[in-house]
C-alpha cells in the first residue's frame, strides 16, 4: 500500500557553505483563502487526495470540547478538526510520533505537522532509535508559542482569545508560557549568524530536519510561505503542482527580526536564571514543593525509557538505613531523593532538551521545571557544541567521544596545555 514515491534521500539540498553564499530562499508563496488554518488544511487535504501521503498526523480539536489532541488522519474530512497551531501543547509531538513508529515503520507514508520544538524532539528521538523516520515526512510551522496548559484548562475561551492576540504580536504576550517567550527557535530559518548556538555548532550544518516548512511570519494572514527544505519536500510540492520559484525574502527578514528580539530575551533570561539556580540551597528551594509524581519526566519527549531508574526500586533502603540517614540531619524528607531525581534526570537528558516546556505544563505544583532545564541545558549544549534536533545524522554527545578533548576538565589548574580552547572560553 505504498503510495507515492517518497524516498529516503538524506542529503539536504544545500551544504552549509552553500547556504552562506546563497541568494534568498526559494519556495512557494500560497495566497490565503479565508484564514491561515483553512489554507493549511486544504493543502493537507490535497496531499491525501493526491495520494502523496497515506495519512497525516496533525493537532486536532476533540469535537464538542475545548481539548486538543493528536490525530492521525487518513480520511480527509477529519482534517476539518485540525488546528495547525493550537493554543496549547498537549502531548509533545515527538512523543506522539514516537508512539506511532516506535515498533518499526509502517508501510504507509505518513506526514506529521508540528511546531519546531516538536520537530527537534522528533529528531532527538530518531537519534535515540525511538522514532523510525523512514516513511515520515515532517512539516514544521512558524510557532508563536503556546499558553500554559493550566491557564488554558482554567479558562479555555479566554486563553484561546489571548492566544489569537499573541499570534498578531508574534510572541510578545504575557499570556504565553515563559519558555515560549524566550524561544529563538520558533521557525526553521536555516542559519542564524547571531545565534550563539549556531556559531558554536561543530558540523556547521545547522540545517533543520523538517522536509517542508510552513512560514507564517510576514504573511499578514494574506499569504503563507512554503519552503521545501529537503529533496523529498521539493518532490512533494511538485506533486501538488506547486512551483517553488518564489522568493521568500519577506518571510526571511521577518524571521530574522523576531529572532533578534527573542535572542535578547533569551540572554536576559540566562542572566536572571544563572544566579537563581546557583548553589545547592537555591536549587533545592526551587524544588521544595516537588511531590515526586514524575509528571515532568512522563511529559518529556526525550525521557523515553520504558522504566525510569528513578521509578525503580533500586533506591529503596531498609528502615534502619532510613533512620540512620535521618539521624544525621535530624529529619529526612520523603519521598526520598527528590533532588537526585531532578539532577539525575538533568544529567540524562539536558543535552537533548529542546525547551518545549511540556514538563512545566505537566507539573501539578507549577514548578518552573522547563525554565530550570533550559537554563542548564543551554549551557551544557553550548559546552558540547551540540544543537539538539537540528541534524539527523549527528550523534548525541554522550554517545561519542574524541580521544583528545576536554583536557581542561581533567586536571584543572595544573598549568598543562589544554586541547579544547574553544570550549574553555565557555566554561
Amino acid at each position: 500500500m505504498v503510495n507515492g514515491d517518497v524516498k529516503r534521500e538524506e542529503t539536504p539540498m544545500n551544504s552549509a557553505q552553500d547556504m552562506k553564499n546563497r541568494n534568498s530562499l526559494k519556495g512557494k508563496i500560497v495566497l490565503v483563502d479565508g484564514e491561515n488554518r483553512k489554507t493549511i488544511i486544504d493543502l493537507m487535504k490535497q496531499l491525501l487526495e493526491k495520494k502523496c501521503l497515506d495519512a497525516i498526523l496533525v493537532p486536532s480539536q476533540v469535537p464538542d470540547t475545548d481539548s486538543y489532541t493528536w490525530l492521525l488522519v487518513q480520511e480527509g474530512s477529519l482534517l476539518d478538526l485540525c488546528d495547525p497551531l493550537p493554543p496549547v501543547m498537549t502531548v509533545q509531538g515527538g512523543k506522539a510520533l514516537s508512539s506511532l513508529t516506535k515498533h518499526g515503520e509502517m508501510e504507509a507514508n505518513i506526514g506529521a505537522l508540528m511546531r519546531p520544538c516538536e520537530i527537534e524532539a522528533v529528531v532527538e528521538l530518531h537519534k535515540l532509535k525511538q522514532i523510525d523516520l523512514d516513511h515520515i515526512i515532517l512539516f514544521s510551522i512558524d510557532c508563536p508559542g503556546t499558553v500554559p496548559l493550566s491557564d488554558y484548562m482554567r479558562d479555555p475561551q479566554k486563553m484561546a482569545e489571548n492566544f489569537k492576540e499573541s499570534i498578531k504580536k508574534w510572541g510578545e504576550s504575557e499570556s504565553l508560557r515563559p519558555i515560549c517567550q524566550i524561544c529563538d527557535r520558533f521557525s526553521l530559518f536555516p542559519f542564524a549568524p547571531s545565534s550563539p548556538k549556531s556559531s558554536l555548532s561543530q558540523g556547521g550544518a545547522d540545517l533543520p530536519a523538517s522536509d517542508i516548512h510552513i512560514g507564517l511570519l510576514g504573511g499578514n494572514d494574506e499569504k503563507i510561505f512554503l519552503w521545501p527544505v529537503t529533496q523529498r519536500g521539493k518532490d512533494l510540492l511538485k506533486k501538488l503542482d506547486l512551483s517553488v520559484h518564489d522568493n521568500l525574502e519577506v518571510w526571511e527578514s521577518k524571521v530574522e527580526e523576531v529572532r533578534e528580539e527573542k535572542l535578547k530575551k533569551r540572554t536576559a533570561f540566562h542572566d536572571e536564571w544563572s544566579t537563581k539556580i546557583k548553589g545547592v540551597d537555591n536549587f533545592a528551594a526551587i524544588f521544595d514543593e516537588c511531590i515526586n509524581c514524575h509528571n515532568c519526566m512522563e511529559a518529556c519527549p526525550v525521557c523515553y525509557c520504558q522504566q525510569c531508574y528513578f521509578d525503580s526500586q533500586l533506591l529503596t533502603l531498609t528502615p534502619e538505613a532510613y533512620l540512620e540517614r535521618a539521624q544525621k540531619r535530624g529529619s529526612l524528607r520523603f519521598p526520598l531523593d527528590t533532588l537526585l531525581f531532578h539532577i539525575g534526570r538533568m544529567s540524562h537528558m539536558a543535552l537533548s532538551c529542546v525547551s518545549c516546556g511540556a514538563c512545566e505544563d505537566a507539573c501539578p505544583m507549577s514548578i518552573p521545571v522547563a525554565q530550570v532545564f533550559t537554563a542548564v541545558g543551554d549551557q551544557v549544549q553550548d559546552y558540547f557544541k551540540y544543537v539538539p534536533g537540528r541534524e539527523k545524522e549527528e550523534s548525541p554527545p554522550l554517545q561519542i567521544f574524541l580521544e583528545d578533548e576536554f583536557g581542561d576538565v581533567e586536571t584543572p589548574g595544573d598549568g598543562l596545555e589544554t586541547s579544547h580552547g574553544e570550549a574553555k572560553e565557555n566554561v
Partner: protein, 369 residues
C-alpha cells in the same frame, strides 16, 4: 468509652508535645509527619529523629503532598522496622497503607499510627501563596464549626470515613470548638495506651463518636449524594466519558501518585500497551483516523478494574492531573458501588482479603448463566 489523654494546649502544639515526648523518652526512634519546607507554604513528609527538629513539624497542616500510605510503604518495603516509629497520618492515608500491607508492599509492625478526626485537606494547586495564614485560620474555623469548606478537595468534602480505622491514637479535631486551648487524644489500642503511658497531659475516658461526629457525617453524606448526582447527570454514558477524558495527556500522573497503584512497571506503561504498525493500519482502515497516543480511556477503565475496589478516595489523582480531569470523583463514584457489592471497605481491616484476590463458592450465583 475509651481511654484518652487531655493536654491543655492548642491542638497543634499539643500534638507536637506528644511527638516530642515520645522521641525524647526514646519510646520511638522517629516520627513521620509533615515538615515545613519554606515560609510560603511548601511542605513535605519527613522522618524526624531529633526532637528539636520537631519545631518545623506541621502535623495537622491541611495539605497532602503525597499520600503518606505510600511513604510508609517506601519506608518498610524491605522489611518491618526493628525500631518503633510513629506516623501522623490522615484516615485515608492509613487506609491506603493497610491496603498496601495487604499487597505485601509494607509492614505495620513497630509502627505507631497516630491520626485525627479529619477535617480534610485543600487541593495542592493552592498550596503556595501569600494567603496561607488566612487560609489556615479559615480551615480551623470550619473544622471547629463542622462547616464544609467549599475550597477543600472534592473527595474530602464528601468523605464519610474521616474517623480513622486502625489508628493507635486519634486526635480529636472535627467539631472540637475549644481546640485552641485543649486537645484530646484517644487511645484506641493497647499499643496506643502503652506508648502514651507517660506522655504529658491528664488521663481521662471519653466517647469519641457522638452527636457532633454524626452530624458531620450526615453533612458529608449529603455532599456526596449531591456530587454523585451531579456526576451521574453529566458524566454518564460513552459520549460524556470521551468528553471527560478528552484532555488527558496520558502522563499517568494519576496512577503514579495513587497509593493503591503500587506496581513498579504498570501494565499501561509497558510495551504490551503500545501500538504496533499493523494495529495502527487496521484502526485507520476502520475509522479513517486515530487519536495519538491512543488508549487513554483504556488506561482509565483498565486502572479502574485494577484498583477502584480498593480506592480510598484520598484525592491525590485529581490533584496532580495537569488538565483538571476529576479523576478522584470518577474513581470514588465507580469505587463506591463496587465496594458495596463486595462488602468491602478498603483499609478497614488488615485481615480482610482484597476482593479481586479471593472468592466464595456461594456468591453472585446469578452472574454466570
Amino acid at each position: 468509652m475509651s481511654d484518652a489523654i487531655k493536654i491543655n494546649k492548642g491542638i497543634e502544639e499539643a500534638v507536637q508535645d506528644l511527638l516530642k515526648s515520645l522521641l525524647e523518652k526514646d519510646k520511638i526512634k522517629g516520627v513521620f509527619t509533615l515538615r515545613k519546607m519554606d515560609d510560603l507554604g511548601a511542605v513535605a513528609y519527613s522522618l524526624f529523629t531529633n526532637a528539636d527538629e520537631l519545631k518545623n513539624a506541621l502535623p495537622l497542616y491541611p495539605f497532602m503532598p503525597v499520600n503518606a500510605g505510600k511513604v510508609l510503604s517506601d519506608f518498610t518495603l524491605q522489611g518491618a522496622t526493628q525500631e518503633p516509629v510513629a506516623a501522623v497520618l490522615r484516615p485515608c492515608e492509613i487506609r491506603a497503607f493497610i491496603e498496601l500491607v495487604k499487597r505485601t508492599q509494607g509492614d505495620l509492625e513497630n509502627i505507631l499510627l497516630i491520626s485525627s478526626t479529619c477535617g480534610g485537606v485543600y487541593p495542592l494547586k493552592i498550596l503556595k501563596g501569600n494567603d496561607q495564614k488566612s487560609r489556615q485560620a479559615q480551615y480551623w474555623e470550619s473544622v471547629k464549626k463542622e462547616d464544609i469548606d467549599p475550597e477543600l478537595r472534592e473527595t474530602c468534602r464528601m468523605c464519610e470515613d474521616f474517623i480513622p480505622h486502625n489508628a493507635d491514637m486519634v486526635i480529636a479535631a472535627a467539631g472540637i470548638e475549644d481546640m485552641d486551648t485543649q486537645c484530646t487524644i484517644y487511645l484506641n489500642t493497647q499499643k496506643g495506651k502503652e506508648f502514651a503511658s507517660d506522655v504529658p497531659g491528664s488521663k481521662t475516658s471519653e466517647e469519641l463518636e457522638g452527636g457532633k461526629i454524626e452530624e458531620l457525617k450526615t453533612k458529608r453524606q449529603e455532599q456526596k449524594a449531591k456530587i454523585f448526582e451531579q456526576f451521574e447527570k453529566e458524566q454518564m454514558g460513552l459520549k460524556s466519558l470521551v468528553k471527560m477524558f478528552a484532555p488527558c495527556l496520558g502522563c499517568h500522573g494519576c496512577s503514579h501518585v495513587c497509593p493503591i497503584c503500587y506496581c513498579t512497571l504498570c501494565e499501561f506503561d509497558s510495551k504490551t500497551c503500545e501500538y504496533r504498525p499493523t494495529s495502527i493500519e487496521s484502526e485507520l482502515k476502520l475509522k479513517g483516523g486515530l487519536k495519538v497516543p491512543p488508549g487513554n480511556i483504556y488506561f482509565h477503565l483498565g486502572r479502574m478494574s485494577h484498583m477502584a475496589v480498593s480506592c480510598v478516595s484520598c484525592g491525590m489523582c485529581s490533584d496532580v492531573c495537569p488538565v483538571n480531569i476529576p479523576v478522584a470523583t470518577v474513581f470514588s463514584r465507580v469505587g463506591a458501588p463496587l465496594q458495596e457489592v463486595f462488602e468491602y471497605i478498603p483499609g478497614r481491616d488488615l485481615e480482610e482479603a482484597v476482593p479481586s484476590g479471593t472468592y466464595k463458592e456461594q456468591e453472585f450465583m446469578e452472574s454466570g448463566k
